[in-house]
Symmetry: D2
Subunit: 494 residues, 4 copies
């Protein structure tokens, strides 16, 4: 969900020299200069497999059972993941249980932790701004998730920008409360954002779903959970969990206490058992709607979801900037090799476009993608044309769909915008909706809300609003110190 544009802007700002260095740096070795890292990203291979551990109660642990991950490029067994099975969950249950319902911190408990987490964010953001650290995670993402270097770098960039947003006092500013005068002297009501305490962050970040952001999605949710005072257990799909395993080591290096986050590699059945035994107060789940619905039932609704959406795009009647539109369509459909899986994309094209070169150009753009640089994946976008008077039918079709993540209305046409944009927006519920000539459906950055709408279980990611809504609840404290009214006497019962 990072923004390609952000990367390009970044690139525009980075002096060319640094950029060249950054690129050439890719093939060099850096393990000695990254004290937090336990792997050398370029050397992971069948002969030198990397190991991914678990973290519980402040200790990194292995396991009797090692899951083997195959290199997506050559099929070698290049990563060994220490997986916990049902017999091994007890330490994780205990660890979660140690965190009380009122959390690791809240406005009345250990406020120093807000400052500590602000400091961790300062340091981690600075680390990610170092070219060799940035390259380390970019390449690590590439090793497990078939993306281009630029797409993976974009993910690291968005993660860094997110961390910059919560430097200094900004973590404690998330815990800002409000108060209203009461009915009489000595009474005031205060509304606080309260943590849930023990929570779970589960990101089924896999290769062929819209969620193939193995660093950005888990990290943003994890930090949000921590900022608000929760103690999270984190589970990421084992295929890509090496990225967050290394990131946790970086965070520890930046001052995050090792007991603050548990990290588990496990299959779905084991994780389910853990959730049922440890009974976290809240579970954030990123993954498919089917699994999400099952989890919602198992956890009796104590869950927030970011599931896949049926992402649609409408091209208005104004045929112009065809090069640009074709390129955005291509990126929305193919970038990250399956950021959008085939069944989840629909393009409504005004009939005017049929006379243009758009489809041919989209074809050409798709054709230039190639496996070697990881810019291609198996994707199909359904294209439907509509006539001027068929917008209501299009809206009707959209109303009948089930999931509503992102959407785009691409047009700068006067009549269309006026008569149709408000209508399309006012009559749809997609959580993150782009409108205008530069509209797109992928590549959300850290500066605006990203998440589904229309579902009370829906979770946002990344912004201060998203963090507060997902990772804390309202608590009201009413001070009522008196004094009593003068000459108060016991009234009649009521």
């Amino acid at each position: 969900m990072h923004r390609l544009q952000a990367f390009r802007e970044m690139r525009a700002r980075v002096p060319q020299k640094a950029f060249n260095w950054l690129v050439s740096f890719n093939s060099s070795r850096c393990i000695h200069s990254l004290p937090f890292a336990t792997v050398n990203v370029e050397e992971i291979s069948g002969s030198q497999p990397a190991e991914v551990h678990n973290l519980v109660q402040g200790k990194w642990t292995g396991s009797s059972k090692w899951n083997t991950i195959l290199d997506p490029l050559n099929g070698e067994s290049f990563i060994k993941v220490a997986e916990i099975d049902e017999t091994g969950i007890q330490p994780f249950v205990e660890s979660l249980s140690k965190c009380p319902k009122h959390g690791l911190h809240n406005p009345f408990k250990e406020p120093e932790r807000y400052l500590m987490l602000g400091d961790v964010s300062v340091k981690a953001a600075h680390m990610l701004s170092q070219p060799k650290v940035s390259d380390f995670f970019t390449r690590l993402i590439q090793r497990v998730s078939p993306k281009s270097y630029q797409q993976a770098l974009g993910e690291v960039f968005v993660t860094r920008k997110f961390l910059e947003n919560f430097c200094g006092d900004q973590v404690r500013f998330l815990a800002r409360s409000f108060a209203v005068p009461g009915n009489h002297l000595g009474q005031q009501s205060h509304g606080f954002r309260w943590p849930y305490g023990p929570v779970s962050v589960e990101a089924l970040v896999t290769i062929i779903t819209p969620f193939n952001f193995p660093l950005e999605i888990p990290l943003l949710q994890l930090m949000g959970a921590l900022y608000m005072g929760n103690k999270p257990v984190l589970k990421v799909d084992s295929k890509v969990s090496i990225v967050m395993e290394q990131m946790l080591r970086l965070l520890h290096d930046c001052g995050l206490p090792v007991e603050d986050v548990d990290f588990i590699n496990a299959d779905g059945k084991t994780m389910n058992k853990l959730l049922l035994e440890a009974n976290p107060r809240m579970t954030l789940f990123t993954g498919s709607s089917r699994v999400a619905d099952k989890l919602a039932v198992d956890l009796k609704g104590r869950i927030k979801l970011e599931d896949a959406g049926f992402d649609w795009k409408i091209l208005g009647p104004d045929v112009k900037e065809v090069d640009y539109i074709a390129w955005v369509c291509d990126q929305d459909a193919y970038a990250c090799s399956g950021q959008k899986c085939s069944a989840q994309s629909m393009l409504f094209m005004h009939e005017n476009w049929s006379k243009s070169s758009l489809l041919r150009q989209m074809n050409d753009l798709a054709a230039r993608r190639k496996l070697e640089d990881l810019t291609v994946g198996p994707v199909l976008t359904v294209v439907t044309e509509y006539k001027d008077n068929q917008i209501p039918m299009v809206l009707d079709a959209l109303e009948r769909m089930h999931a509503h993540l992102t959407a785009a209305v691409v047009s700068n046409d006067q009549l269309f915008l006026q008569a149709r944009l408000a209508e399309v927006i006012g009559k749809s519920v997609n959580g993150t909706t782009y409108a205008g000539l530069r509209a797109r459906t992928t590549g959300a950055p850290q500066n605006h809300w990203f998440g589904p709408a229309g579902d009370p279980r829906g979770a946002g990611i990344g912004t201060p609003e998203a963090i507060k809504l997902v990772w804390s609840c309202h608590r009201e404290i009413i001070y009522d110190f008196g004094p009593l009214p003068q000459k108060w006497e016991t009234p009649a019962s009521t």
Copy 2:
């Protein structure tokens, strides 16, 4: 959850003459002067039973099956409720289905409705300020719910104050959005509060639960749902549904379109079937935790809950104002004849109080309650004493409880407040917590949040924050109209 204090303040303001009139008015007949009402509250009886209808698709309907409600005072069959069974739910399913997911209104659709609802609130608040209307609902509540006149009047008063809070432009102010500058010219991101569309408000307001507010709880949630653009179907326990049935008629009289709300009398099984078939986007449930958990499973977590809480109170070491404390304890325990059922109340009393007259006074106060004026009900409060150094044990006990609605810490003692208040607040999660000499656990008004904390499914009631969080979700619209950067060229794929 109304505030007795509020009533007493109101009474203090009402000229004595008006108040006498109001009281004497109780025994007079008023049906002819209340054009909205279909019942004469004083004449409902076994020989002149009242009828409660259903409302669907803008029409009041009867039923082939009439449920009979017994007068709690004399056991006569005094109300006939037209109950819908499973064969009759189709019109309700159709009615809900007519409301699209984007709601009856939203910031881009029929904004006039925000103003209309502001006008309805103005008129309804004014109606409730009329003594004969206020008396009508007060007495109607008393007929079905064993409360004193003052407790029932307090409920009407809080309802009126709530409506006053959303007069004029205040409904549209609930739909206030925010925007942040984007990355380049022509880009801005907007965060809106979006309705869920078809929703359900289910208030299992019954006689012996904490939820015996047959007007206040359903009305506040219903209006909140409407304000944000949803179309609710409302179900209240048949024993008390006559109150909301008459209230809906008042709202229609004040300009609420008859199609905006459906109203159904049905048993739990039928309602469950309706929910599964109509599939509302959100269900607000007020009632017991057991039913709530089942609903959460049936609705896959698309639910917000206001369930009963285990409400505790801690008396600090400073023994003073014993008369006042005893009276508040008595009200918290007994007012409304079971606002707090026996198993749900626990009083932690510092050992210093054992030497005081508190327990004796509580006993005396309980003894003066009598059935005739409906000030008594079967209630038991467990009293536990603690010593100075046992606060951690008390907190530990509280941590192990399951539901967390309200709590109170009663003290103005210096050492206790300093050393203990922050600790008790910082180490507990009750949603609505009162602290200070005048702390209580019952009687919440409309001006502060009331609801549980510590549960992602938890719902608040009444305040602007509660309405926005419960009845709307975040939707992000990103405008990106361009222009394109000058000399833009198609970049390499990523």
Copy 3:
């Protein structure tokens, strides 16, 4: 600044019968049924002149000196105003001095007053919704300010809507504060909105300025001052002060304590002396820039201003809806007979419009205005045409102007909106700017901010934001109760 549209909407909702009654009511007498009123609006005349008194320290007082106001329609001396001269200001100085700097109320002092003012708003709004009260003020405005009945009624309507916005708890919600966790246990910082204490509201509402809203402007500012805890002395131009004098009597009737507001009729020199002697902590001045600048110097900048603006309008290149545009231009220029005085209006018209019937239609519309129904006044609008490439020159011209109240950009043209609207908005500073086909420069309602921008002294009117910014200041309270760190020892001096 009221909205004509609002009136028309209101009319659309009022049943025709009620409206006829309302109109026929105009000629009837109502003094006996308006208990607060001391004048009979229809009978004020040379032979039965009305009297306007002063209010100080809770008492209505006359004066040895009576100023005579001439009926604008026939020149008769129809109102006698008791004017205070320099020898009479002492009671006003004393009255203001009685109010401490921390105000009549604040979040820590007499919070009951927030509720009292919410109740006053409920009652006053309801009074103004009564047709005979509404008619009374409409006609009273007409008697002193040459407007049409509908324009004057619109002013009453906006005033009522404003009062509806601050019913119930909404006054105390204006005093909402926020808090942020501190550096250690026991520390929290709180930001409050604090009153100024004694303040002055001076509305030089006169016949031929943009400020001829003798009810709306002073009432909205006065209530805002009260809501936040200030004690205002109010001065309105004597020519129209009868309107607010009667309104104050209505407010008293609705429960406003008589000591809360002082009301003075005086000339500018006397008022200046009063301000210098009483030294109010804040003065809100509505009137000409020239007087405003002098006041700013006299009061050393302790002032907020709503001065006249140079209001411009740009018509885009898209010539359409000419009837509508002509009518809005006519209303913006002429409605209220000088809402916009001649030198303050400029119309930039794209050259395309020169071929249209716009100017002729504007001429026709102006011609149909007539003195009898008070729809006409001496107004001149300067019209300038511009070519496609001259927008930068237009913006340059606007940049060099001095006051920036309202502005409008009328267009729905695609290219213009895209290329120009953001440019015009981004490169101008007018406080209240309308954009789109229905843009206008007059008729602001109560639901959005109205006021100048680009000046730190600028004041807004009517909205919650405006009230908070104009009538209160930030105050920060930091609680730091400890405890001390364990084993604290005196450190070295620094």
Copy 4:
């Protein structure tokens, strides 16, 4: 106004090794490794005087007139300041004039600048976190302002924390706007924070005033002005202007465009002339009330002020933690050698304290201060005792004072806090008020508002709220794109 506590916390977190290095580093040379710096802080002396230049239109310039600053420790002429006289102001007037009223950026103009300033903050914060940069500014402050190393280091620390608060997207988040649905389809009203355009930041930071924070005060206000889109001209007292001159060079090194800020060294008369000719839209003045009042008159109130306050402290009746209280009193009175000048401090002490060792201890603490380490300055604090029943008299005395910056109520006594704290807070208007056992009157950090209350001209510093209120104004944009109502016809004139 920095917080000593902050420094001590920082020290607690810094590894001891780093701290030793930092201390020993003081005597080493670092000019070669600080590329932005043009002076070597340890070598500035009579024989190697430093030069301070002006910055205008992107160019550093000297002057024909050099002002000589004497070393406060030995009286040597150790700094030469290029002072502009009245003949030299023209380039500054021109530079300010180049900035339009709508600013360098706003939500509709060059939004990229928000991101650029977020990046500058990231880099500058990181620079200040480098020990040698931090030491450079700490020592530079010490060279011109007689403070201890720790006090000066604290100022650098607060400055860094402030910059951390506005990293990443946090600058654009300051420009967050809101919107409310309009009356009909196509209408929405938006409230923006708009810049003033050309502005002036004048910090008369001198040696013996409360404003001797030559880095923190000007930097925080300067960045606030920039963040919101203004172009500031900065003037700091020549005696200390070398600190901000070097800081500007650091900011340029971090990416701040050289044209964004002008920097002038001039006497008051020249600055006054510049302000009158360049006519900045807003002037922020930090300095004495006398100069502030004159400026308010000269600039016709277009000014925000942070003037000296009469800072008082009340010690409650509970005599305890005497060591701590004595130390805080000593720091509040003497730290920074005159942060509080003699006439501006008053201590109200409950008579109980007279029996304690407090006064003796304060005496002892004052005695241990010495000139060599710059911990002493000529200060006198007036001490007054009061009896239990004299709080109203104390409040009365405070009410009659003129300026209200900070205040403290030191007590944890139950009765006092309950009966008196709300009273003292509710009946006073000091802008930044501390309450509790650890209350103080000096040492405000960056995380809460600091500024006077009770004056409409009052300015806060440092927090998001302060930046928005001081450096931007409200602008309302109402979109009203239609469509027109169907079958619209020209209505009658009104």
